[in-house]
């Protein structure tokens, strides 16, 4: 599979996600600088990695969302290509209007760096086919602004169309405010675009793929993407 990881000034998880993709798919992604105006020919998957692009100036992801490369990312998404935004990448996708809503300051005002439990809401997506709906995985988060918010109408549409892919839950998969660390609306941790080819999520599945590090609950996520692109 051909993937491109976009690097903005202040990105810092590009190495982690590139390593996870290479480990699981066998193919190393191309690193693409934000000031470039085109993606490598034949790119299947575009990744906007985590970090603090532009030092989170103005609003998280706001300046990166207007970077030159984003026009090519938008066109890739419009053609139905896969676009993944992790953490700051999710914030960038929201700021770019490729996903609805916004990531606000965590409700408890704390930067959260810890492991969380995510319930996978459906398996019939390009991103989760190697899991079962209802599976709970343990992955890390590291963010200060991950509190997902949108207006009532948008939330109703996301829920009604089954576009919430991941939620923060207890280890047993139960919804509980105690386990919704950042106060996100409806415990939303990740959402899909209308065509499901664009995904934004706050947690970092790329950090739980190698047994050397510990848990490997994030492997299925990258295996799913690889299987989707192989089948295509």
């Amino acid at each position: 599979m051909k993937s491109a990881v976009i690097v903005f000034p202040g990105s810092n998880r590009e190495g982690d996600v590139a390593r996870a993709i290479a480990l699981i798919s066998g193919d190393r992604p191309e690193m693409v600088w934000h000031a470039d105006t085109s993606l490598p020919a034949g790119t299947d998957l575009v990744v906007l990695p985590g970090g603090f692009s532009y030092g989170d100036y103005l609003r998280c992801g706001a300046i990166a969302a207007r970077a030159p490369i984003m026009r090519a990312v938008r066109e890739h998404a419009e053609r139905g290509g896969l676009v993944l935004g992790i953490c700051n990448g999710f914030q960038i996708l929201c700021e770019a209007g490729l996903l609805p809503g916004v990531l606000m300051r965590n409700a408890r005002l704390k930067f959260m760096c810890r492991e969380v439990f995510l319930r996978i809401e459906r398996s019939d997506t390009p991103w989760t086919r190697r899991y079962n709906a209802g599976d709970v995985i343990k992955v890390p988060v590291a963010h200060g602004e991950g509190n997902y918010e949108a207006d009532e109408e948008t939330i109703a549409r996301l829920e009604g169309d089954g576009r919430v892919l991941f939620r923060y839950t207890s280890p047993e998969g139960e919804l509980d405010p105690e386990w919704n660390y950042n106060g996100a609306r409806n415990a939303i941790a990740g959402i899909l675009s209308e065509k499901r080819n664009v995904l934004g999520l706050m947690p970092h599945p790329e950090n739980h793929v190698d047994p050397v590090v510990g848990p490997v609950d994030g492997r299925g996520f990258f295996e799913s993407i690889a299987a989707t692109l192989k089948a295509a």
């Binding site: 103005l58 609003r59 300046i63 916004v102 606000m104 965590n106 409700a107 918010e149 949108a150 207006d151």
Partner: protein, 80 residues
């Protein structure tokens, strides 16, 4: 031409930072503070010659970058 753009959170949008500041003001003993909402101010200098052009340019800037209109309102004042 100088102008000031003020960006504020829409009413109804939870503002945890404003709440924290409100709590700090109370703990300092500053009385009568009922609520605090945090926002941003941008002081901008423009080459535009007239007020209408300056306002139009800044409105465009707000829509495209300075404000996230999902959660924020903006106000443009051309100071002359």
């Amino acid at each position: 031409m100088k102008a000031r753009v003020t960006v504020t959170l829409k009413s109804g949008v939870l503002d945890p930072q404003g709440k924290a500041i409100e709590g700090a003001l109370r703990s300092l003993g500053i009385e009568g503070v009922e609520s605090v909402r945090q926002g941003k101010v941008f002081d901008v200098e423009l080459a535009a010659g007239d007020r209408a052009a300056a306002e139009a340019a800044l409105k465009n800037a707000c829509e495209k970058l300075l404000a996230n209109t999902v959660i924020e309102n903006y106000r443009v004042e051309v100071l002359g």
